[in-house]
């Protein structure tokens, strides 16, 4: 519950037309050198993030993305391909392009192979950030399979007992088909908060609660700009720290990709550049029994959970994804609520690329 106060809920908001938001994202990416199809694919994912109210993976990442293209860390024209595979697995190379197309190809390959073999494990190397990890898991679930996805990211996190950045915020996502319209989608960072929350707090100098981060000197700090240069802790102490490390192994060495400090070039450090790695796993529920029974059992368990007696002051017991799909529908109907600070940062980027901001 300590996380409830951060990030603050009362930041200034501007309501933006969804179509304008998407056109802006495509415009920025095109201006940065992405071919049209890649710009569309990448915009789709950041747009979906903002629609879902998951603003830390939305428009706010354009500055970083364009910065990586300008610095030569991402080839805007790079396209992913399958480099080796078997019936139940595949290894992809992102060929140093944007992460989004690599993530989509990996998810599609996972679903296709799981459809044949019952299970599939897909590893991706030489890639870049895929951002909204839950989105790729959702794709696999919409194809009828259970999905587990994890990815490594450059080090922003210190291990349990540590005070220097060696772990990524290494997120994990799960998705399952349900009997309803939407799959169950859960994703989380293994850090105490997502690194992007720190970046966004730094825009306006919003203080962060004590106990979350340390500065570059390893000393505890509540100043977002100081912590941004230092590191944040893991969720749930040693368990979250162990989980982050484990996910770094799965999405790194296991699938033949780089991990840990080898990814330091992404933070602007002068070391040999290495792409990120991703791990995707899909399982066909039909391999062990009846897929319809599976969907019904998932739905029944969710109903059981939603029916639990509520804690004081809680309106309803939510299951992962409930709020996400509600927010998405509202954003499409009424407009997307964007933080003014994020909008302001995007406007700076737009000026530098000669792109016009909507209304």
């Amino acid at each position: 519950m300590a996380e409830a106060a951060f990030p603050p809920r009362d930041q200034p908001i501007r309501r933006v037309d969804p179509a304008d938001l998407r056109a802006l994202m495509v415009g920025l990416l095109r201006a940065a050198g992405c071919p049209e199809d890649i710009a569309e694919i990448a915009a789709e994912i950041h747009w979906e993030a903002d629609l879902r109210g998951h603003h830390i993976q939305g428009l706010d990442h354009m500055t970083e993305l364009v910065g990586n293209i300008r610095a030569g860390r991402i080839d805007p024209e790079g396209r992913p391909e399958v480099v080796r595979d078997g019936p139940a697995w595949a290894q992809l190379s992102g060929h140093n392009g944007l992460g989004h197309p690599a993530g989509l190809l990996a998810a599609a390959t996972a679903a296709e192979k799981a459809g044949g073999a019952g299970i599939a494990v897909i590893g991706v190397k030489d890639s870049a950030d895929i951002f909204l990890v839950g989105y790729y898991a959702e794709m696999i679930a919409r194809a009828g399979f259970a999905a587990v996805i994890t990815t490594n990211v450059p080090p922003h996190v210190h291990p349990f007992g540590g005070a220097g950045a060696v772990l990524g915020t290494n997120p994990i996502a799960f998705a399952f088909p349900t009997a309803g319209e939407n799959p169950l989608v859960f994703d989380m960072a293994t850090s105490v908060v997502a690194a992007s929350h720190i970046r966004q707090a730094a825009y306006d100098g919003i203080p962060i609660p004590a106990g979350i981060g340390v500065g570059p000197d390893g000393k505890p700090s509540t100043d977002a700009r100081t912590v941004e240069k230092g590191s944040i802790g893991s969720m749930a102490g040693h368990r979250g720290s162990g989980l982050a490390l484990c996910l770094g192994l799965l999405s790194g060495p296991l699938v033949g990709a780089a991990t840990g400090k080898a990814l330091d070039s992404w933070l602007g450090r002068d070391v040999a550049h290495k792409g990120l790695g991703h791990f995707m796993l899909a399982v066909d529920p039909g391999i062990f029994g009846d897929a319809e029974d599976f969907r019904a059992a998932v739905e029944a368990h969710l109903a059981e959970i939603r029916g639990a007696r509520r804690a004081e002051g809680v309106e309803r017991v939510l299951v992962p994804g409930d709020r996400l799909f509600e927010t998405r529908a509202r954003s499409l109907a009424e407009g997307v609520d964007m933080h003014e600070s994020v909008w302001r940062e995007a406007a700076k980027l737009a000026v530098s690329l000669g792109v016009e901001m909507p209304g």
Partner: protein
């Protein structure tokens, strides 16, 4: 816990004692051997809560007939990369060992494998099976759906299990990396243990049957344990349940009861075992070198004040295992006393 009186025993003596108890309680030789092996491995690691101390709940289940000591796991459905195993109501560990070895065998052929185990009882220390896969050179993942003891985030009534997950990964050294964690604020064993010692746990670990937050372990045992880290552990636990329950045809939620209930285990539980061969993705030797390099990097991070070393999952427990193998295994006197009572009832000789 460390200041409670203990006795030191030769591992082989403890193994033999547990095997004889299990046989006397109705287990086949094979079932007794595998079950004793997993209990012993827990005691060797200093995880007494999962060792001999935990065997009593299984002896109760054998006596009640909720577990069939003669039940033998078999494959009922399979493909090149998948298998479904029916535990035929036998003890959990032999089914778990069989599922693990099946996953290893198939992953070495197909690159990866998923094996479901249903109709088996509790497999206890799930890290053991993940470690077994890692010792075979593979990445191993184990998911286990348990009976309801945990409230959802925002709720105060038990709806989820402590739903643990375990992941084992080979390293450059002799011992693998082994993460074994419950997705609840406290494991079921910790609550049971604290409850029977009348202890309190830190704040925020659970609620009493009326839904009020409490630190009294016995009240939480009767009420509900909190999920780990709020909504994150809640979501993670729910996903573990779906992966290990319905995915393989097992039940979850109200349909199953575990060893903490008055009546013992009930329902068709599910467990899922996944193995991935690093050789599919590159040179397995390079993989070990790279995974060790990452572990070393993390261990060498600047330490917070007062911290003597940064450790990775499995490091401490596997060092303790080596120590126990060399110098003897520690068993709590309290646990030994209870073991004596069970032995008397089963007509088994207690080692000196």
């Amino acid at each position: 816990m460390s200041d409670r009186p203990t006795r030191t025993m030769a591992p082989e003596v403890l193994r033999d004692f547990m095997t004889r108890m299990l046989c006397a309680a109705g287990c086949s030789d094979v079932n007794a051997r595998d079950a004793a092996e997993v209990f012993l491995e827990a005691d060797l690691r200093g995880i007494g809560l999962q060792g001999l101390d935990h065997m009593f709940t299984m002896l109760d289940d054998l006596e009640r007939g909720t577990i069939d000591g003669q039940g033998r796991a078999e494959i009922v459905r399979e493909g090149p990369a998948t298998a479904l195993i029916d535990g035929h109501r036998g003890p959990g560990q032999p089914g778990g060992v069989f599922a693990t070895d099946t996953a290893i065998r198939k992953a070495k052929e197909a690159g990866c494998a998923t094996v479901g185990l249903i109709n088996g009882a509790d497999i206890y220390m799930i890290g053991y099976y993940a470690e077994r896969m890692a010792r075979a050179g593979l990445a191993g993942l184990v998911f286990s759906a348990a009976s309801s003891l945990v409230h959802p985030h925002g709720g105060v009534e038990r709806r989820l299990g402590t739903n643990p997950l375990a992941i084992g990964i080979p390293t450059g050294g002799d011992d693998p990396f082994v993460l074994d964690m419950a997705t609840s604020a406290l494991s079921a064993s910790r609550i049971r243990f604290a409850a029977y010692h009348g202890e309190h746990v830190p704040e925020g670990m659970g609620v009493d049957p009326a839904g009020k937050p409490t630190t009294e372990a016995a009240a939480i045992e009767a009420g509900a344990i909190a999920p780990l880290a709020g909504h994150k552990g809640y979501g993670l636990g729910l996903c573990v349940a779906l992966l290990s329950g319905p995915l393989v045809g097992g039940q979850i939620g109200a349909a199953i009861e575990g060893w903490l209930s008055e009546e013992g285990e009930r329902g068709v539980r599910g467990h899922t075992f996944m193995a991935i061969d690093p050789a599919a993705f590159g040179d397995p030797v390079e993989f070990r070198t790279n995974s060790q390099a990452y572990l070393d990097e993390v261990k060498s991070a600047r330490r917070a004040p007062g911290v003597d070393a940064i450790r990775y999952p499995g490091e401490r427990t596997l060092a303790r295992r080596r120590e126990s193998l060399a110098q003897g295994v520690q068993v709590l006197e309290k646990t030994w006393e209870i073991a004596g009572r069970y032995a008397a009832r089963l007509g088994v000789d207690v080692p000196a």
